[in-house]
């Protein structure tokens, strides 16, 4: 086998030697034959002539031998390519149009494939990343999807047999001091062996080790790659430096490589000993103190996910037996594991696949359109192909030559498309960052390049084969009757148009549905105002502030912010509507009432607010009173109060007055009095109004608050004043994450905007290409039928009837395409269902509107050549025939 390969390849490379040897070999044979004739009695010269004659045409034999060499294949390929280029140079307009449309089609596919490759296909950059899982504790019967973990639960699950390591992660913050401004540093607090289990090696320095987690160990931290680049300019000498964070000096011991971070991107990593909450007595002893947000596990080699679930349920059943109060049976407590890669990409997966599918449709339309153009061109080339066939070109050779031409065009288009894709990928990465931590892994790498080359060659062969087969057949003696070949060609062209129309219809439906869905989302009334509101976050230094000191701080902040000139009002909330991240939810009890305890039965969201929060966000008070300064930290146990929203009031009290009623969110341990009812708001545009309980921030020891400032002027310019106001209270307190509420709103619509924009662009492109295709085919057919039109008109037909004849022909094509597209759309739009809001995938209005647009555009495309047909002078037409 190897020898065979060697022989074939050597014919490629040692051509001149082969030629020489062949010449000698044949010369030897002829000499021997000559000798034979001489021995038989002929004269030397005559013997030689006879031998040559007997042997046959020398060059012919040599050529036949050469045909067996592999180099022949290469030669003909080079010949075909040169010939193809010459041909294309003669019709530059055609070449340009084809290359340009191919570039658009291939470019779109390459861009989207880069994203799919980086996010979905490429394995995680962790050692044996497919063995990593995310563990969750759930109580699905009570509607709880993610309980988090407590320290004790982490220890319990660490014992599960399938796991080769279980590590924890939770997110908090520190204040970095000693620079020009105090800076909030988001921190991932992790187990000491976190990076070992995940399989991450440091870029510089070291990762965490067991000694770092010991109580009293010196404070260390690791820098994430992004933070290191951004804040320290990528300077490796930062390792070993010490920085003041909160009240302790922390030393940088290592820098991490660029890896995707789950569940969120943090600036630095610290061991669990660094977090006082995590190291507190309650956290260590209390099974229900669930401070750990995320638990990662590594499956032992060879262990399947099912086996892991089985082992986890062994642990959870044991826990239910040992601690029945903490894990009540009716809540359906269980623990699950899901692969890390799937978790990182879940949100984005469906959108990406839809985009890939639509890009594929665009490529299909582009191929059909180019095939059509090439078929049209075949007419002019018929004679040339016939000559080549007559000169001895075999059927396969003709086919190969035509295919080479189309592949050249496709590869040229692919190369330009790659350039377009480069630019498109940058845009897509910016979007992708919001939905998956793997966005940073999106590059145009080798797989993408191979993909581009692959689809270029395949599309070149596909769209080239149509005219190639047709063209080579037209010179076949069997189909010498050119009328038959032409008719065949026309049918093929018609079918190509039908395909284009069908695919365009489906694309346009997709575009129409997603655009309408986006509009509906934008029109959702969230129940508050979004103009001229600036949001920001203040996370307090938790070592400095505790309990009533936090309340005092917030009260002073609210006062000062309201005092800034230009500010109408300002208030703080645990979160605010449209913000990413949600509110805690839980079940409530109402004093004096029996409430169903099952899933969703009495679940509400708990939100936190300062008194002026509602004025700031524009959420009116409907009855009762707002929070006031009397509801402060001192009164938190004597007079705890709460506000509820209208939806909750209606649900539990109907039209009766809920004021004065008492509710409990912690199972009856403490009760709060309802003092007022506020209007409903939507926390997320896509979600319905939920039942909400508002608790006063001033009555709690809240460390982290989002602030809303409503101003008369554009609030963005108030950043400096706001910072100064806060620094007047505490100069070491950072204020960050300034965004106007309008920006937050756009960000929440980022995904549907992306999809609608891309589908809209693709749809428009498809429409233009298809319209041009229809115009081309109709114009061509009109040209062929000039004679016929002339006769009709000479026989008395009106111009209008000729016009309608042409129009009918065009519309017949469009309607067939529409019918096929309709069937396809009804099936495929189901896949879009999860991306749509407020609109059915089979929305009648969209279907009708798109059909009408398509028919109108097609009619216009037909009209231009139709008018030309109708204006034919019968005398000229008859003469042409």
């Amino acid at each position: 086998m190897v020898h065979r390969l060697k022989t074939r390849l050597s014919s490629l490379f040692r051509r001149s030697r082969y030629e020489r040897e062949l010449a000698s070999e044949l010369e030897f044979h002829i000499d021997m034959l000559t000798e034979q004739y001489v021995r038989a009695g002929m004269a030397a010269a005559e013997a030689r002539r006879a031998a040559l004659r007997n042997f046959g045409p020398l060059e012919r034999v040599k050529d036949d031998v050469r045909d067996t060499w592999l180099s022949r294949l290469w030669e003909t390929l080079v010949q075909d390519v040169r010939y193809g280029f010459r041909n294309l140079r003669r019709s530059p307009g055609f070449a340009f149009v084809v290359v340009f449309t191919m570039a658009l089609g291939i470019g779109a596919n390459t861009a989207i494939f880069s994203v799919v490759n980086g996010v979905l296909l490429r394995p995680l950059p962790f050692k044996d990343g497919e063995q990593l899982v995310v563990l969750r504790q759930q109580q699905p019967a009570a509607g709880v999807e993610d309980m988090g973990f407590s320290y004790k639960e982490i220890l319990d699950y660490r014992a599960a047999k399938s796991l080769d390591g279980l590590v924890e992660f939770h997110n908090m913050w520190f204040i970095l001091l000693g620079r020009s401004e105090p800076e909030r540093v988001s921190t991932g607090v992790v187990s000491a062996n976190f990076f070992d289990v995940l399989g991450v090696k440091p870029l510089y320095g070291r990762t965490l080790q067991a000694a770092d987690d010991a109580p009293g160990a010196p404070a260390v931290l690791l820098l994430s790659h992004g933070y290191w680049k951004k804040t320290f300019g990528g300077d490796p000498t930062v390792v070993g430096k010490v920085y003041q964070m909160n009240d302790r000096p922390h030393q940088v011991v290592g820098i991490l490589p660029p890896v995707p971070q789950y569940p969120l991107e943090v600036d630095v990593y610290m061991p669990t000993s660094a977090c006082p909450f995590r190291s507190s007595k309650s956290a260590l002893e209390n099974r229900t103190f669930r401070i750990v947000g995320t638990a990662f596990g590594r499956l032992k080699p060879g262990v399947t996910l099912d086996k892991c679930h089985a082992d986890l349920s062994v642990v959870s059943s044991q826990l239910q037996l040992d601690h029945p109060q903490e894990y009540p049976k009716e809540r359906g407590y269980r623990a699950t594991a899901s692969p890390l890669q799937a978790e990182m990409t879940r949100e984005f997966r469906r959108t990406l696949l839809v985009l890939l599918g639509t890009a594929g449709f665009v490529l299909l339309i582009v191929c059909a359109s180019v095939a059509n153009l090439m078929l049209a061109r075949m007419v002019r080339r018929e004679r040339e192909v016939a000559v080549r066939a007559a000169l001895g070109a075999s059927h396969t050779r003709l086919l190969r030559q035509l295919l080479t031409e189309s592949t050249i065009l496709a590869i040229a288009g692919g190369a330009i498309g790659l350039g377009l894709a480069h630019w498109g990928v940058d845009l897509l990465v910016a979007y992708a960052q919001q939905f998956t931590p793997r966005a940073s892994e999106i590059h145009i790498d080798t797989s993408v390049l191979l993909y581009t080359l692959g689809i270029s060659v395949v599309t070149g062969l596909v769209f080239g084969s149509v005219p190639a087969i047709n063209g080579s057949l037209s010179v076949s003696p069997a189909l010498r009757d050119s009328g038959r070949a032409t008719h065949n060609r026309q049918t093929i062209r018609n079918w190509l148009i039908v395909v284009q129309v069908a695919a365009s219809f489906m694309l346009l439906i997709g575009a129409g549905l997603t655009i309408r869905s986006l509009i509906k989302l934008q029109q959702v009334d969230p129940g508050f105002r979004t103009d001229n509101i600036l949001t920001m976050r203040i996370d307090l230094n938790f070592t400095k502030y505790r309990n009533e000191r936090t309340s005092e701080f917030w009260q002073r902040v609210e006062e000062r912010m309201k005092g800034i000139p230009g500010v109408i009002t300002a208030g703080g909330g645990g979160t605010f509507p449209l913000n990413d991240g949600g509110s805690p939810s839980g079940s409530i009890l109402i004093k004096g009432r029996e409430l169903p305890q099952s899933a969703g039965g009495s679940r509400v969201d708990f939100l936190f607010a300062t008194p002026d929060y509602f004025a700031a966000i524009g959420q009116p008070l409907i009855s009762g009173r707002n929070f006031n300064l009397g509801d402060n930290y001192g009164a938190r146990q004597t007079r705890p109060v709460a506000l509820i929203n209208r939806s909750m009031a209606r649900r539990y009290w109907g039209n009766e007055d809920p004021l004065g009623q008492q509710i409990s969110g912690n199972g009856g341990n403490s009760w709060a009095t309802i003092v007022g009812v506020v209007a409903d708001t939507r926390q997320q545009l896509r979600e319905p109004v939920r039942d909400e309980v508002y608790l006063p921030i001033f009555q709690r020891g809240f460390l982290s608050t989002n602030w809303l400032v409503r101003s008369r002027v554009d609030p963005a310019i108030m950043q400096r004043e706001i910072r100064s106001a806060v620094h007047a209270i505490d100069p070491d307190q950072p204020v960050d994450n300034f965004r106007t509420l309008a920006e937050v709103r756009s960000a929440s619509l980022a995904s549907p905007t992306l999809v609608a924009t891309l589908l809209g662009l693709f749809g428009l492109l498809a429409l233009v290409i298809t319209a041009a295709g229809i115009a081309g085919v109709i114009a061509f057919s009109v040209n062929q039928r000039t004679h016929e039109f002339g006769i009709r008109m000479a026989l008395g037909a009106q111009r209008a009837s000729v016009l309608s004849l042409v129009l009918r022909q065009g519309l017949a094509l469009v309607l067939s395409g529409l019918a096929i597209g309709l069937a396809g759309a009804l099936v495929l739009t189901r896949l879009l269902a999860t991306l749509l809001f407020g609109i059915q995938p089979t929305d009648g209005f969209t279907f009708v509107a798109v059909s009408m647009v398509l028919i109108a555009v097609a009619a216009i495309a037909c009209l231009i050549p139709a008018r030309r047909a109708a204006s034919v002078d019968p005398m000229v037409a008859l003469r042409v025939g």
């Binding site: 086998m1 065979r4 034959l33 042997f55 034999v61 031998v65 067996t68 592999l70």
Partner: protein, 108 residues
């Protein structure tokens, strides 16, 4: 001279392989041998012998080597490879089966 029979490409290949079974030979020798053994019925068309030889070599069924001939000239000698021997056995069996079938039809 007996009428020459036209040789199909496949059968020429088979004959070449068989001829080389007994030893190495150059192209001239192969054509003489086939002529001789077939008692002059088969006269190999020189024009198709060499393309066949080169094709068989590219397929790995025979291997070539330059050597000195009887009259001390340089000639290209061909020999059967192991793959060639296997192919020869298979083709021979095929041919015999085909010939047998044809003979049976003609006998009826």
């Amino acid at each position: 001279m007996a009428p020459k029979s036209e040789l199909l490409q496949g059968t020429l290949d088979l004959l070449i392989l068989k001829t080389l079974e007994t030893g190495t030979m150059h192209g001239w020798g192969i054509s003489l041998r086939i002529q001789a053994v077939s008692e002059d019925v088969l006269q190999v068309n020189q024009g198709s012998l060499y393309p066949a030889l080169h094709r068989l070599e590219q397929q790995g069924l025979i291997a070539s080597q330059w050597g000195a001939s009887e009259n001390n000239r340089q000639a290209k000698y061909y020999e059967l490879t192991r793959l060639g021997r296997k192919q020869l056995a298979a083709e021979t069996k095929n041919w015999e089966r085909l010939a047998g079938a044809v003979a049976r039809i003609l006998a009826h």
